[in-house]
Assembly symmetry: C2
Homo-oligomer: 248 residues x 2
């Protein structure tokens, strides 16, 4: 088990949707900030990684939501680099409210990308040692994505501010993209319970991405399946579980 890092965070109005709940994009952005702070603290910050010709990228998120944080809430973000194998690093996040109750948990998979070849690079001991993560041999299996069968598609605009220092679309943007075709009526009446996103190919400025999605009712809940495609290739897959919001 790795070192645990803790960061306080107060939710600002601009991190929230029209109902005052934190958006999934901001949730992961704030979580990643905690992991970046831990890396800085351990002498493995962005400058160190860049000097090795590498960048951290995210390849997968699994998120369980008990309750999305609200504007003004004082949160604690806890994170721990759990384990790693030759190519992947497994890091968990827990988002707690002021009473110490867990609101959200996130399991993320990180990898190191070579800046020049843009391919995944082996995890070097010198990078990973300070986190005290467990070295493992196996590659973790996550749930498979159901294929998007009967879909509608919407084209997306890549904006300058969607691009991050890795010169590709930032991982947090994909939530907004995947949710786009669900529309205001659905999004304002449903709450997200569970989210699983895999990033398979980078999307870069100048690409013309589209999002395809499919909605399936499952009793009390709704499953939505999402794919981001560029020129017919799947770049990212998502699957979300929703429940109708209780009217207050």
């Amino acid at each position: 088990m790795g070192l645990v890092y803790t960061m306080p965070h107060e939710v600002s109005y601009y991190e929230c949707d029209m109902s005052g709940q934190m958006t999934p994009s901001m949730l992961v952005a704030v979580a990643i900030k905690a992991s970046e702070q831990q890396s800085e603290q351990l002498g493995r910050g962005t400058a160190y990684i860049h000097e090795l010709g590498l960048n951290w990228i995210i390849t997968e998120y699994e998120i369980q939501v008990k309750c999305l944080p609200s504007v003004g809430e004082k949160l604690t973000i806890k994170t721990e680099a759990i384990s790693y194998n030759r190519f992947f690093c497994y890091r968990n996040f827990w988002i707690l409210n002021e009473q110490g109750e867990e609101l959200v948990s996130i399991q993320a998979i990180f990898a190191l990308m070579n800046q020049e070849t843009r391919k995944i690079s082996r995890v070097q001991d010198v990078i990973i040692e300070p986190y005290e993560s467990e070295a493992i041999k196996s590659i973790r299996r996550t749930a498979n994505f159901l294929p998007v069968e009967s879909f509608e598609t919407t084209s997306l605009n890549i904006l300058y501010y969607d691009i991050d220092e890795n010169h590709h679309v930032n991982n947090a943007v994909y939530f907004t993209w995947m949710f786009a075709p669900l529309g205001l009526e659905f999004l304002s009446t449903h709450e997200l319970l569970d989210s699983h996103i895999r990033f398979e190919k980078e999307v870069v400025y100048g690409d013309q991405p589209i999002v395809s999605f499919e909605k399936m009712n499952e009793g009390e809940t709704v499953i939505t399946k999402h794919e981001i495609l560029v020129a017919g290739n799947v770049c990212s897959r998502g699957q979300m579980l929703w429940r109708k919001k209780e009217i207050k």
Copy 2:
């Protein structure tokens, strides 16, 4: 002159563009947070305004940039509700770095919108008194916008998360929209010196906005003119002044 409110703010990576500089959208979002905190402190927060059937809206921003804040910078946001007349409230913001140097100044015009009619409502003394702003008779004249003559247009997608609690596109989104057609090559090689945006009509979910823009070289600087249109009507006008970035 009004009461001055001061808020600290540390710049997060997700508030920045790919070069690590704070985006104009986040700059105004953080500034507005300071004014909201002042309103809460003075007993004139969102709940109070909503009970009167009103919402604060922004009708205009004028922004002068000496230097955009960078990731990790510890800022001080100062704000003061300077003056008001029957319909408009004038509020200034100053964004200072850790050394107390002014990086950005913002002059904003606020108005109160009736939640039902969505028309501008008179400024009531009971709302404005605690800010100790100066009552003035005149309506401040701001610079006129040059017409966008020889333009290119790009269509925009309204995303669920662009909509704020006022049920219209949040003012901060317009910066991203206006800058969209400038493209990565221009935006990554130019720095914003000056920005003037006027909000004339709300844009709501389901609208199909387009942005038209024109670029004019003026010696060492570039002027860009922007209009956001819905069904042929101008909803917002912007004019920006840019300078080529020095290569470091």
